[in-house]
Amino acid sequence: MGFDFPLLIADAGLMRLSSCLIVGGIIFAIGAWGVVARRNLLIVLISLELMLNAVNLVFASFARAHAGSDTAPQYAAENGQLFALFIIAVAAAEAAVGLAIVITWFRNRETVDTRDMKEMKN
């Protein structure tokens, strides 16, 4: 892109390791709030996906931070991205199993409200 924004000069230093970590932390906290506070089982599962995505973002930003260092071992940065890749695989498996459990629960009880899940209470 040949044009520059007047307020945001090309390298204002806004995109750095700590700001990426803060974005990841905010998204993780939003997802944790959704898991704890919401009562709809589907939204709880979606919030879990949010938390996993936030962790992926942190992994990718640390990988990028270590890519430029001379002391890091070979392929250290790629290994960080690989870990995020494995998290995506686990998240896909978790979504499949979790949604199957939701469907089974709904077939048995006609609800997806977590407040109705008290068979094992007491």
């Binding site: 892109m1 520059d4 924004f5 090309a10 204002a12 230093g13 806004l14 995109m15 750095r16 390791l17 700590s18 970590l21 803060i22 932390g25 905010i26 906290a29 939003i30 997802g31 944790a32 704890v36 506070a37 009562r39 709809n40 589907l42 939204i43 599962l45 979606i46 919030s47 996906e49 949010l50 992926n56 973002l57 990718a60 930003s61 990028r64 931070a65 890519a67 430029g68 790629e78 290994n79 991205q81 690989l82 890749l85 494995f86 995506i88 695989a89 686990v90 998240a91 896909a92 498996a93 978790e94 499949a96 199993v97 199957a100 939701v102 469907i103 089974t104 709904f106 609800t111 997806v112």
Partner: protein
């Protein structure tokens, strides 16, 4: 330019994440997952993780989102089952907990990284001097070598995990056990 793209995608991500957890109808939550995943993909591209960005868009935007939509259409919730009349106390407590979590992460990001890890500017391009053999960080070649040479066993275990999860999902959603 990179800074502008970063700020834009970070704001999109945080706003759509807030929309996801706050909508009453789960269909809107799934619809707001799309801008969330798009923003996340942009962040991965900005962090030189291009292969990860492609996988993110394919797996999350292509598979998981559609599966969630399918399940929401399948169970077809009635409006009176979407009630969220949780008490003020539990709402307040969960807000405080999430705020404390975010504050802890922010504290780590600000102070925890300072003495050990340099607070790297990502807007500068990666200099090739420190990476003579692998100039591109997230390319397919550079991902494939450590994946198939060093991390072979976790890779195979991931395939076993996915097979087991598929079988488990089929078994769980059968009519009769």
């Amino acid at each position: 330019m990179k800074d502008f793209a970063f700020i834009l995608s970070a704001v999109v991500c945080v706003l759509s994440a807030a929309a996801i957890v706050s909508r009453k109808n789960p269909v809107y939550s799934v619809v707001f997952m799309l801008p969330f995943f798009l923003g996340m993909t942009t962040l991965f591209v900005l962090l030189d993780a291009t292969f990860l960005a492609a996988i993110q868009m394919i797996v999350y935007g292509g598979a998981i989102l559609v599966v969630f939509l399918f399940v929401i259409m399948l169970i077809n919730l009635k409006p009176d089952e979407l009630r969220e009349d949780f008490s003020m106390k539990s709402w307040f407590i969960s807000c405080v907990g999430a705020g404390l979590l975010a504050a802890t992460f922010a504290l780590f990001a600000y102070r925890g990284t300072r003495p050990n890890v340099e607070d790297v500017h990502f807007a500068k391009p990666l200099e090739a001097k420190s990476r003579p053999h692998q100039t591109e960080l997230g390319s397919v070649e550079n991902i494939a070598y450590p994946l198939f040479e060093k991390q072979m066993i976790p890779f195979e275990l991931a395939s076993v995990l996915i097979i087991v999860a598929t079988l488990g999902a089929v078994l769980l959603s059968k009519k009769k056990m």
